[in-house]
Amino acid sequence: MTICSAPFTELGRTQASALGHADLPIAVIPHPFGLRSREEVRRIAEQCVADIARLVCESAAGEAARAAAPASARSGRIEAPVDLDEFNRFCRACGWSDGLPLVPPTVERVEATLRHTRRARDEVIAAVAPGFGAASVEHIAANAVMAGCEPEYLPILIAAVEALADPAFNLQGIQATTNPATPWLIVNGPIARDLGINGGLNCLGQGAWANATIGRALRLILQNVGGARPGEMDRATHGQPGKYTFCCAENEAENPWEPLHVERGFARDSSTVTVVGASGTLNMNSHAKEATDLLRAIADTMAFPLSNDYYFGGEPWVILSPEHAEILKREGLGKSDVKRRLWEQSRFAAGRFAAKDRARVQHIRRAELGTIDANTLVPASPGADGIGIVVAGGPGTHSVYVPTFGVTRAVTRAVTIES
């Protein structure tokens, strides 16, 4: 059985059901539980133990009907209003919307999208946490249409869903957490140019159809197939604007080093998508002209004591603008040199953590760091290779820090163009 505080009970119940254990007993305790005094915890325990004793002795037979039956891998077809306003009201009532208007996934539109892959329409690409909905090619195509994607974007979304399902990404944690984390998609290779995915000016902002709709389609898949609806299984305290869409290309033309996909073992002429469990973005504006000066300032910015990367030993990312990357390259630094210096210089003394958070770090990272005292230098990642570097953006003296969920690792998958 499990114990949940009240706002997390529905998450526990829904997920247990999705995993085939609809009869899992749940004892509910008051929220916020973590702020209770020791005496309050004792009083809660006295009630909770009675609930435990009762729940585990109750027969589960009455719960059997709630167990889910295996689903078809095909997307269902239903009738929906043709009128766009009515269609969108219908979608809102069904819980399918991200809060913005949707494009009807008509048979014609979805079929046109499906022509951009040779994979079978009923092939299940992944079971998407936390509801473990089976994302078939058809489901991915339907959500792509609803987000406004051009049909040829489909292979990127298939690769992205494959990447999200890699256990290293920890989609379960990212989907159900109170943290604002969301997948950030980085597209590399010829497909970025061919489809007009922006890696230059305003690449994380508005204006590029591909960036906007590919990121949005992934969010719809996470919500509609994965079941992570806000207030239900998506438990984000605030969320972040990147949960609407968060997709860009790398600016390979102005990257002085090897592009991200080559660094990660793919051929230069291949196309890939990389997913990062991003908690947000922080702009870093610097007129520094020397590598040492610039890296020190970036490292200082990375080092903040309320960061999941530092709690867990994560994998924070830096999006270097072409101008900042050029400063580093000009002084002879390779990407691994930059990672090493950022990793070393962004360590900070454990005394900067709140006391409770320092105790957390001690528990979580003991095997890596040993016993921590106030002067122990804590790195953002277990090793320098855990610092992610990508070059993107247009002219300007701005780079971007992308802290992550911490208990996640970026995953890259090849995009297969088959049409």
């Binding site: 997390f8 133990v49 689903a71 996934p105 920890n170 509609n224 208990v407």
Partner: protein, 96 residues
């Protein structure tokens, strides 16, 4: 425009197979209870108190305690194997 048109549903059900129903216990007396602490704040205190109450008031024979490294990852296989081998009832912390 009025009327309806056929669309593809964007939602997908799980294909996980329903598992056998759990067995209800006939009481807690003499049972071994395992806890998997999700390391959320105060949960270890709750486990302390529940362990004491389960043994003192309900006759549980022993309590086995494990702590995960962090809440947002599954319990590792060695913990699962240990509680599976030893326990009649396993209680986890979930969410906050």
């Amino acid at each position: 425009m009025t009327g309806n048109a056929m669309i593809f549903e964007p939602t997908a059900a799980t294909r996980n197979t329903p598992q056998p129903l759990r067995r209800a216990l006939d009481g807690l007396e003499g049972k071994v209870v395992g806890f998997i602490d999700n390391v959320k704040p105060n949960f270890h205190f709750l486990v302390d108190d529940l362990a004491e109450l389960l043994i003192g008031k309900y006759g549980v024979s022993s309590v086995i305690r494990h702590r995960k490294r962090t809440a947002s990852v599954p319990a590792p296989e060695d913990i699962i194997a240990d509680v599976t081998r030893q326990c009649d009832l396993v209680i986890t912390g979930s969410g906050d």
